[in-house]
């Protein structure tokens, strides 16, 4: 948890910042196959084959032209941002102004200090006006830019990727081809409509993660594990006939059966 202050205009709002993401992935250790003991890793100098202890490791930047530029510790320190508690709001925009390709990692914000009045006022105002703030702050010697949003009555901050890291969708041109057949568009529309539903994130589970966990648990107990086989899909015929078939299946509710298979 990190503490900071959201500032814009005359507003100064002390907040606590909490990671919203919880790491649920299954972590493996690399083991020596002979005795199942964890391995250790070292960096070696390929020229001499010698292990280089971590205090002797230097940093270098590799250029596209195939050059290495050595950088000293104090040179790197000088590029680090100055520590601060300020979460500066640079601007507010409509909430569709920040395209999703920029989003990186979400954090929750909580009120810090005596009163939560301003905190909830800001959450409420952003929700009512459908706006987001663009925030910039330095946390643990790293500079961040994030989208300040209202989320179900609370405030959240989603860090944004930086210029030079993202290919914006607006910079690309779509694939071309002969004009789409209107009948096919209509059929595809119908098909998609027949499969329309509401989004319930809770209904999805990382079943693969669960199975890996089960496998690990079963093996730990010395059980024999059986693996199911999975079916293959059939080959594709003409687009119109496939759309026709899909629609027919959807109407008879067969599509639903297949979908939940």
């Amino acid at each position: 948890m990190w503490k900071g202050r959201i500032t814009f205009g005359s507003i100064e709002l002390p907040v606590k910042l909490y990671a919203a993401v919880e790491d649920k992935s299954i972590h493996f250790r690399l083991l020596d196959a002979k005795n199942n003991e964890p391995v250790v890793q070292h960096m070696i100098d390929p020229k001499t084959g010698d292990v280089v202890p971590s205090e002797e490791v230097r940093s270098a930047y590799a250029t596209k032209a195939g050059q290495l530029v050595l950088l000293d510790e104090d040179e790197l320190d000088a590029t680090e941002p100055r520590d601060s508690r300020e979460v500066e709001i640079l601007r507010f925009v409509d909430s569709d102004a920040i395209a999703s390709e920029w989003y990186d990692r979400p954090y929750w914000l909580g009120p810090d200090g005596q009163t939560s009045r301003l905190y909830f006022a800001l959450a409420r105002a952003l929700a009512d006006q459908n706006k987001e703030g663009v925030a910039r702050w330095v946390m643990r010697k790293k500079e961040y830019v994030g989208a300040l949003k209202a989320e179900g009555g609370h405030l959240a901050l989603i860090t944004l990727r930086r210029t030079g890291e993202v290919v914006p969708a607006s910079s690309l041109s779509p694939p071309r081809g002969r004009d789409l057949n209107q009948k096919e568009v209509a059929m595809a529309r119908q098909l998609v409509e027949s499969m329309q539903g509401s989004f319930d994130i809770e209904s999805y589970h990382d079943t693969y993660r669960e199975r890996v966990q089960e496998l690990a648990d079963a093996k730990a107990e010395g059980k024999v594990v059986k693996f199911p086989r999975t079916p293959r899909r059939e080959s594709q015929k003409s687009l119109a006939s496939v759309l026709q078939k899909s629609l027919a299946a959807a109407r008879q509710g067969k599509a639903a059966g297949r979908k939940s298979a």
Partner: protein, 299 residues
């Protein structure tokens, strides 16, 4: 040393950018809705940390990572190493590649859109990483059809699929005639305000609301300014590199064999070019198993 490694030695750690080259899609497969198949290739919409640094020796030789036995510091080759899951302290079960492969719910290569939902229903807090889908093969009709319908109806198709040893929940949507995918976090990967212990939303006095609204209005602009997303420390670092290159201070040639081991250099411009080309011509159906730096460079 907890480690999430790829399937085989030639595979890349999932989600990472290490060694990702952008000449070709890194995954090809089929997006399907109903019985319609759309062959696609996947490109990341972003790359992380363009200023990642290399570890080198005092003399400037790029270092290699090697594995050793903990007991007697003997070097191990890839074949001497297995993947273990710690069931209790210092007790491991070994899970081999073949076993994990067979656990995959469906053979990789299929993204079956089972339900279409309003885009606005998906909370962006769930978005993990963005990808662009490019058509594979000369016929782009099914691709364009799906893109057109989803964009018109402001819908996203939802699917789960397995890629590189991990199951992903994805939302596929269309923007400007281009299909894109956002991998989504599962519900249990996101903490709720209740779990963190945030206070329940409270009534807001009118005066406070008015004051906040006034200040928001003052700072409101019509669009995002990408200049505000510039990574200042990264710019400083690149300036420093530039200066040293000019003065030819602390500059070394990168040894050839090192380039083979860890591909670098592909940046977001290479990525954009590769995407442009694939969207225009369709991506090649098969990817080569071994990607060389030369392909990345041309990309």
């Amino acid at each position: 040393m907890p480690e999430h490694i790829g399937r085989t030695a030639s595979d890349l750690p999932d989600g990472g950018d290490e060694g990702e080259s952008y000449g070709r899609p890194f995954w090809t497969g089929t997006v399907s809705f109903g019985l319609v198949n759309v062959p696609v290739g996947l490109f990341p919409a972003s790359r992380s940390n363009p200023t990642a640094l290399r570890m080198v020796s005092q003399g400037g030789t790029p270092l290699h990572r090697r594995f050793y036995t903990a007991r007697d510091d003997r070097e191990l080759s890839r074949d001497d190493i297995v993947r273990g899951y710690e069931v209790e302290k210092d007790r491991f079960v070994v899970l081999d590649d073949d076993e994990l492969e067979r656990l995959a719910p469906e053979k990789t290569g299929d993204v079956d859109l089972r339900v279409f939902v309003k885009r606005s229903e998906i909370d962006p807090m769930y978005f993990e990483r963005g990808y662009y889908l490019v058509p594979v093969g000369a016929n782009t009709k099914a691709y364009r059809l799906l893109a057109r319908v989803m964009e018109d109806m402001e819908l996203a198709g939802i699917a789960t699929f397995v890629m590189r040893g991990k199951e992903y929940l994805v939302a596929i949507m269309a923007e400007n005639g281009i299909l894109r995918a956002e991998t989504l976090r599962f519900a249990d990967e996101l903490r709720t305000p209740e779990r963190i212990g945030l206070p329940k939303p409270a009534r807001v006095p009118d005066a406070d609301l008015k004051r906040v609204e006034r200040e928001i209005a003052r700072l409101t602009e019509s669009e995002l300014d990408e200049n505000e997303l510039v990574d200042h420390p990264a710019v400083k670092l690149l300036d420093l590199v530039e200066k040293k290159l000019k003065k030819d201070k602390d500059v070394l040639e990168l040894p050839e064999e090192q380039e083979e081991e860890e591909a670098t250099g592909a940046d977001v411009i290479d990525l954009r070019k590769a995407l442009e080309r694939s969207l225009r011509k369709g991506a090649a159906a098969k990817r080569s198993t071994r990607r060389k730096r030369s392909t990345a460079k041309r990309g």
